[in-house]
Symmetry: C2
Subunit: 251 residues, 2 copies
DNA sequence: GTAGCCTTTTCCATTCAATGAGAATCGCGG
DNA sequence: CCGCGATTCTCATTGAATGGAAAAGGCTAC
């Protein structure tokens, strides 16, 4: 005995294996997968074989493993993310066609920003966000808006768990809580060059039934974007639309 | 012993449970889930609890179960469907902005049409297709194009497995194989009112390296749509663009 | 060629996690 | 209050999953 992780179930491993695809590589060898997921090699081998049989994983020509099509299908048939996406897309389109910049929708998950959808604008700046990708809360306008419009206990527990984030804030000594309050007061967040040096992020909350953000809607524009001021109203209007649509199709 | 389905592994059940969400209902009670997935109730209960713990499923306020956010996240980080979607979206946007009708992308899977992405056009006809939803091959232009541009053995095995589809074709006595050949010759498929009485579907193949369809791109327009003829070239151009993009980012 | 290194695959005795029947509990509607 | 279905929990049993080890395969460099 005395193996790396005794006492975890098939599910634990299943999830760790899928979680090993973190976006840095989109296909892995079985051995690499076993290492990343911290599963004994022989077990990983069997698990992968089973998962491939079910379409949860697939293997390409070189024997490399990657998430499978059936997994995608099962996950996209119905899920909170799908509902949100469904409700938001028309409004995101509106924003997109007016602002003509990357438009994205995200939620807060495990103290991180989880990107639900993004509409890219051709010929604009690069956009770091990937669908289903995660970004740090304190470096993105989406994240800061989500946090600012979260219940107090969520904010506090975030601050507790991430003292580093607070410390590494732009003006070193500024008061993070005050900043959040400011964002809530203004109703939007705008950051220059935090994700990418040449871009500005602007985001507004999609408010839920209790006045908290259930999502955030934002755009990424080039630094010094001319019609900056017109963007916020456009986002706010769209965000309200999304909130309304979500409201009429409750969970 | 002597239970309903002895000898299936955790994975078998896991997949059957997820598969129980087939789009007809987006949340189910545990009991209903157990019935649909053909899993003993007690086992289903435990399995659901575990899956919820991992975020593969989630439970709403009423205790109803539905696919979870983490599942969505894991599935959308990387997968063949994501690659295709990624490559196709800009071109679908182009089609969308020219034709101003529902635009959709699909692949062939298990003798069915699996919808990968759709861009809806507001104020146009209703669109039956759902993302990650399935549609019958022989009743959709997407399906017929996919089949027409598939290797011969795929066509034949489809015909073998679905004699009914052939029989129920529009003109009862027409030759299905001939029809496929015709589609391949023309390079596109167009059907009136097969999915919905008031709509026409038009689709073209996204060709892969061996001249077979790796996907199909199509639009849904109102019956008697005026600029019908201009749609096909637009689709073909976009489809080529998608094929090119896919080619430069191989599996 | 062959030595070194990493990966994939198979084997098999052990055991512990998964199992499912059954019963208790909850909750709604009549 | 009773009935009925859904949910939750218990527990003795067992075979499916386990993982160390070793064989088989693949690649590069010397």
């Amino acid at each position: 005995m005395a193996n790396s992780r005794s006492g975890d179930s098939v599910l634990d491993r299943l999830v760790r294996v899928l979680g090993a695809f973190d976006g840095t590589k989109d296909s892995l060898s079985i051995a690499a997968l076993a290492r990343r997921a911290d599963v004994p090699l022989a077990t990983a081998y069997r698990l992968v074989a089973d998962m491939v049989r079910h379409g949860l994983l697939s293997r390409d020509a070189n024997g490399q493993v990657r998430p499978g099509l059936r997994l995608w299908e099962l996950a996209n048939r119905s899920s909170p993310a799908v509902d949100l996406r469904q409700a938001a897309i028309p409004f995101m389109d509106d924003v997109q066609s007016v602002v003509r910049q990357h438009t994205q929708l995200a939620i807060l998950r495990d103290d991180e920003v989880l990107v639900i959808e993004r509409l890219s604008s051709r010929g604009s700046v690069v956009n770091q966000a990937q669908i289903a990708g995660r970004m740090p809360v304190h470096r993105t306008s989406l994240g800061m808006v989500l946090l600012a419009f979260s219940p107090n206990h969520v904010q506090e527990s975030y601050l507790n768990r991430h003292p580093d984030a607070v410390a590494s804030a732009d003006p070193v000594s500024f008061d993070f809580r005050r900043h959040l309050a400011q964002i809530r007061l203004r109703g939007y967040a705008a950051f220059d060059g935090r994700v990418d040096a040449d871009t500005t992020g602007i985001a507004v909350p999609v408010l839920g039934p209790h006045g908290n953000a259930q999502a955030a809607l934002g755009v990424v524009v080039p630094l010094g974007f001319e019609s900056f001021q017109s963007v916020v109203p456009a986002l706010m209007t769209a965000a309200r639309g999304i909130a309304r649509t979500m409201g009429s199709q409750p969970a």
